[in-house]
């Protein structure tokens, strides 16, 4: 598959935007400005970017506790996301959800999720709706290696396989469920192998290579859209930071961490773009600077936004 200059530069913009968002969130958290739990996606940007580049607005995704990257890649609005992290009433959830619960239903983003593995059956049900309505939409379900040990994984993939639902399950294998390494939490090297249990395609790709992710997702999404049922894609990657901000990640081997930092998906894509002469280093720097400026503007928006009022506790419990 030949990717155009516009596509690759688009990937670069999305990935640098996610990175800038995450590094800013880390800084704000450390400065005590963000309440609650914050789980960052730094290092895993190629996964959400490569997958979501294949999606249309009508398509759905389900996300996770580590959801900022998925949201940005699916078109989520940076300022509303940032305001939600700050708990402001202008945020995506009016300050009721925070980082772990950001959603934009109009954009098909069925929410980050605080319950590991909960997105799997939700994605399956959204795919049932798409199939039933024959609207040509597909669903992508993001989840981690840890989440692929939940019962929801088995039940969802089995159900989607028998009903031939238009859904792509994307396992983001960063090799850790908090402190528990993949070696200790599952007995297989490739989560993708589990697809065999459901009679659906399963592929493992280099999750730090946005082009490889894009291509694998393109095939699976095409298959889903044309009515041929679900697939499982495993993206091998690495989270640069602790499980949540504040986790010193003592369980990581510093050498392994260092080796993975060298495989950072962003410089890898930059090298590819420069090699193809699609852009100069200076032009890429400009994309990065623009991303950082957008994040700064979002922080200003959030900080200038009103905090919710106490009565807001009582609204939004039931639909009227």
């Amino acid at each position: 598959m030949k990717l155009t200059k516009e596509q690759l530069l688009g990937f670069y913009k999305t990935m640098t935007t996610i990175r800038a968002f995450e590094m800013k969130a880390a800084e704000l958290f450390a400065a005590g400005q963000l309440p609650g739990f914050v789980h960052l996606y730094a290092g895993e940007e190629a996964v959400a970017t490569g997958v979501c580049a294949n999606l249309e607005q009508k398509d759905f995704i389900t996300s996770t506790h580590r959801g900022h990257g998925h949201l940005i890649a699916k078109g989520g609005k940076i300022d509303l996301m940032m305001a939600e992290l700050f708990g402001r009433s202008t945020g995506y959830c009016k300050g009721k959800g925070g980082s772990m619960h950001i959603a934009d239903v109009d954009l098909g983003i069925l929410g980050a999720n605080g319950i590991v593995g909960a997105g799997q059956p939700i994605a399956t049900g959204a795919a049932l709706a798409c199939k039933y309505k024959k609207n040509g939409a597909v669903v992508v379900c993001f989840f981690g290696d840890g989440a692929s040990n939940r019962g929801t994984f088995h039940e969802s993939l089995n159900m989607a396989s028998i009903w031939r639902l238009p859904v792509v399950y994307v396992a983001e294998n960063n090799m850790w469920g908090i402190s528990n390494n993949q070696k200790n939490h599952m007995n297989v090297a490739d989560i993708a192998d589990r697809a065999g249990a459901y009679g659906i395609p399963g592929v493992a790709v280099d999750g730090n290579d946005v082009i490889a992710v894009y291509e694998a997702a393109a095939e699976a999404i095409k298959r889903a859209r044309s009515g041929d049922g679900p697939s499982l894609i495993e993206c091998k990657t690495w989270r640069h930071r602790g499980h949540f901000e504040g986790d010193p990640a003592i369980y990581k081997d510093p050498k392994e961490q260092e080796a993975w930092l060298k495989k950072d998906p962003i410089p890898r894509l930059a090298a590819k773009i420069i090699e193809l002469k699609y852009a100069s280093r200076a032009e890429l720097d400009k994309i990065e600077a623009d991303a950082e400026a957008e994040i700064e503007a979002a922080v200003k928006f959030a900080q200038a936004s009103p905090i919710p009022s106490p009565e807001d506790v009582f609204t939004d419990v039931y639909a009227e």
């Binding site: 609650g36 959800g97 319950i115 939940r150 402190s179 528990n180 369980y251």
Partner: protein, 323 residues
């Protein structure tokens, strides 16, 4: 006596029992070298090794369900569910297996197992990481439900829970983990089903458990300054419930305020109010008041969470309403 935090005391309770009985083992997500999400199990992996302190995959159904099987087959497992909110994932194992196996088998099985899990809000962890779900478990005959409010109770009740031959849901409050207190050293058991008067008083009884005991104590201090003497009664275990202690205190003060962090509707406060109405109606001089969270999910923003939570002022106001 030794100065310990609530987290250290609960850990000490597990440690002492693990030394005493080789059939006691501990497992759950990140309980090993990570020391548990809130540090409660720190050091136990180093002390007891990987055969007795075991990291599990993210598989709550199998964590709780395997504790049932391990207990039925002769162990005394302590299973950790990282947040009480995740108990939903393993509710069949708790509800239909752990709670009922003995009864259904005509008394022929014993299930000495403890499910430890932290509850509570106050850290902007939002709707899926902050709940107080104790009432769920009290509604399932066959389970015992323990909610310590102090380090010493944490240790002693943990020992009792481990030694008990029934499934015990042991609920630790996140806001109490770093709270220090005097704790007896070595073997120390606080029997299940015995309430504790945390402060004596004569004008009004305030029943509270877990984190809310601290809020009630603070309220009692403020009330004392204006001449109202509040008695703080901590049931410590909701099942079994120390009905006698409740009726005795209400018999003394003739007024009752019940405080819990859980939402109001279907909360355990309703059960206590019903008990007092059924068995102690004549003891009351005023309506029973409940101070609880409202019937909504738990919001994220600190200002919203603050408005949501029961606190000292809300308790004081409820007491004022009775005078």
């Amino acid at each position: 006596m030794k100065q310990m935090t609530y987290a250290e005391a609960i850990r000490d309770g597990m440690r002492v029992e693990m030394k005493r009985d080789p059939n006691v083992l501990l497992y759950g997500e990140d309980v090993g070298i990570f020391g548990g999400c809130f540090g409660v199990t720190a050091g136990l992996f180093e002390e007891f090794g990987p055969e007795r302190v075991i990291d599990t995959p993210i598989s709550e159904t199998a964590i709780a369900g395997s504790a049932v099987g391990a207990a039925a087959a002769g162990l005394r497992p302590i299973a950790e569910i990282m947040f009480i909110d995740f108990m939903g994932v393993c509710m069949d194992e708790i509800l239909n297996q752990a709670a009922k196996m003995r009864y259904m088998f005509g008394g022929k099985a014993k299930l000495p197992m403890v499910v430890r899990t932290p509850c509570g809000a106050g850290m902007s962890a939002a709707a899926q990481h902050s709940q107080s779900l104790e009432a769920w478990f009290t509604h399932i005959p066959g389970l015992k439900v323990v909610m310590p409010s102090t380090p010493a109770d944490g240790k002693g009740l943990m020992a009792a829970a481990i030694r008990d031959d029934n499934p015990v849901i042991f609920i630790e409050h996140k806001q109490l983990l770093a709270v220090p207190g005097e704790v007896p050293e070595g073997e120390y058991v606080v029997p299940l089903g015995k309430a504790d008067v945390k402060r004596e008083g004569s004008d009004v009884t305030i029943i509270a458990w877990s984190w809310m005991v601290q809020k009630a104590l603070a309220a009692a201090e403020a009330l004392a300054a204006e001449g109202i003497s509040a008695e703080i009664l901590d049931p410590r275990t909701l099942v079994p419930l120390d009905k006698e202690a409740i009726l005795k205190s209400v018999g003394k003060t003739n007024k009752l305020v019940i405080v819990h962090e859980a939402v109001k509707t279907g909360g355990f406060g309703a059960e206590i109010a019903a008990l007092v109405c059924e068995e102690g109606f004549d003891l009351l001089d005023a309506p029973i008041k409940r101070v609880t969270a409202p019937d909504t999910p738990i919001p994220f923003a600190p200002v919203l969470e603050g408005a949501y939570l029961p606190n000292e002022e809300k308790i004081i106001k409820a007491v004022h309403d009775l005078f």
